[in-house]
């Protein structure tokens, strides 16, 4: 996984609360293979009308938001289904960071596993960021080392689980870490067979 340290990029406002993973990628696209790229399905039913034409006043469709890598939204972003496809859609579209006052837990952990930073800000700061973006500002600077967001001369702090911060900063993959614990896992299983045989061995 590619490490995430600092990012200066264009940002797009998404002034909605509870943008759930069903919105991020509607269920009907989830049969597709990832190799097709999931970016085309991102927020599909918000971005396109029933004929498939882009909805002109949807923020992501504005020409000045093209190439955005940072998304700013309201509370409870990524709630709902555990579908990692929601993160694939954001990442394949080009996003590397989502800023919001709160995130669905599973979504946030899926994000980190794909190098996408879920940055938590206060509700007031989210409102201010949204209004800065809606009033002519385009570029946002995100610094994961210092947990700071900057837009022109405005500075906002953000929060993220320390464990996730370390993982993103280093671009770590859990599997490498787990492999180094193989002997501990084997020891655990051996002792659990004694203590909880019904968990380690099924009848029949």
């Amino acid at each position: 996984m590619k490490p995430f340290t600092k990012l200066e990029a264009k940002a797009a406002p998404l002034p909605f609360a509870s943008v759930d993973t069903d919105q991020l990628i509607p269920a009907r696209f989830m049969k597709r293979s990832r190799s097709e790229g999931y970016g085309q399905y991102l927020l599909h039913d918000m971005r396109f009308d029933s004929e498939g034409k882009p909805i002109s006043d949807f923020p992501l469709n504005a020409p000045q938001r093209e190439g955005s890598e940072i998304l700013v939204a309201r509370r409870n972003f990524g709630a709902g289904s555990s579908r990692e496809a929601a993160v694939y859609a954001l990442v394949d579209y080009g996003f590397r960071c989502v800023i919001a006052p709160s995130f669905g837990d599973i979504f946030a952990s899926n994000s980190v596993n794909n190098g996408l930073l879920p940055a938590r800000v206060s509700e007031e700061d989210a409102e201010e960021l949204l209004s800065l973006l809606e009033n002519g500002h385009e570029s946002v600077f995100v610094d994961l080392e210092n947990c700071e967001i900057r837009v022109a001369n405005h500075v906002f702090g953000f929060e993220i689980e320390p464990v996730w911060r370390t993982k993103l900063l280093n671009g770590w993959d859990d599997l490498d870490l787990t492999a180094s614990y193989a002997a501990d896992i084997a020891r655990y299983v051996e002792s659990d067979r004694e203590q909880h045989p019904w968990l380690q061995q099924l009848p029949g």
Partner: protein
Amino acid sequence: MATAQGPLTLFDKVWRNHVIATQADGQQLLFIDRHLVHEGSFHGFNKLKEKQAKVSRPDLTFGIVDHYAPTKVRDLTRVDPAIAGMITQLEENCRQNGLRVYGFNDPRQGIVHVVGPEQGITLPGATIVCGDSHTSTHGAFGAIAFGIGASEVAHVLMTQTLWQKKPKRMRVRFDGKLGPGISAKDMALSMIGRIGADGAQGHAIEYAGTAVAGLSMEGRLTLCNLSIESGARCGLVAPDATTVNFLRGRPLAPKDEIFDRAAEAWLSLVSDGDAEFEREIVINGTDIAPVVTWGISPEDALPITGAVPQPEAIGDEGRAAHAREAIDYMGLRAGMALTEIPVDRVFIGSCTNSRIEDLRAAAAVLSGRKAMVPGLVSPGSSLVKQQAEQEGLDRIFIDAGLEWVDSGCSMCVGMNGDLVPPGERCASTTNRNFKGRQGPKARTHLMSPAMVAAAAVTGRLTDVRDLMGGRA
């Protein structure tokens, strides 16, 4: 790390039993006792193939066909090939890796969170994961059960472990006794309406109190199922005699003296009297009325006696904007009584409310009556379907004018093609009223099975208590 001594919660006890290693930053490596996979788990299997790895514990991994299962045509050659492909792909992945599979044609097939408890795969004190957010359901047995993403599915497939940071502990106590016609669904929606859809984020909820102890396993499963809709990582209920009796004789539950030994261990899984919770809320069960959702998030929940909110009356800008968006999407008027809202169809099913008790509750209201609108009833598993038919519930649904179909996720998520048409309004026993969840532009009102049955009978949202005279 120094392990916490002193009083422990139920959650602490189960968690502690599964810790293999602890990192300096607090991450812990947990052993996973049960891993459930379904059609949507293909990204996880693909990662496994990329690494040319094998499933670490095929004996603890279970494949179940549900998300894409057609419910009206039980023949894969006669359905959309893309849907059939999802099903055969799972069955194939399971076969290649030597997993137990409850496939499309298996008489035990059903929704993963219904089949797990039914087969005795779900046990108290276990850690259970699945690439599905409603895995919290299994916490009803006093297990730590939570949904995971595809990267984590791959990790569990390869190692039977998962790195996790321990969530905070929260207790939700439901005191008193529920009124007639009130179910676990009303308890859960009342809680979510009160704390918000992100109200329990980062927490593991233990449900306690007399109203919880009084619930059947079915009710507890519904309650824990909806934990995720409050943002919680998982929900648990301490095992008791109800739990043990439910498990005795289940195909994959322990047998004979191992069962007795297990049951003794399970019954010790209770929070110590002086254990501390980071958060605690108390809800009076006696005060709970039937609840429905009016908006596009499960937190948009109100007693059926209420009215659609007035956005101008909401002080907070973000929340007022959400209410306006919800009213607009749902095609409602601010201030209208909830009982004035007409419905176009109903759905009874999903891992939230498709067990035998749910079907009985709906049938009790529908018996001898006609539905004013079309609707679908999809039992949670093929075994539930069989039992319902033995009890004659299928006749009640069919005579009322509803469709009695096979088991699967069906109209909960619409992946199998069971969809609410655009613009239509559905009274639904499911768990998510998100925009487009039941189909593009579909409008969903969540409620209990009895409340859905009542809406079917009158064609609008209805207080089921008005239809209960002398029933159930």
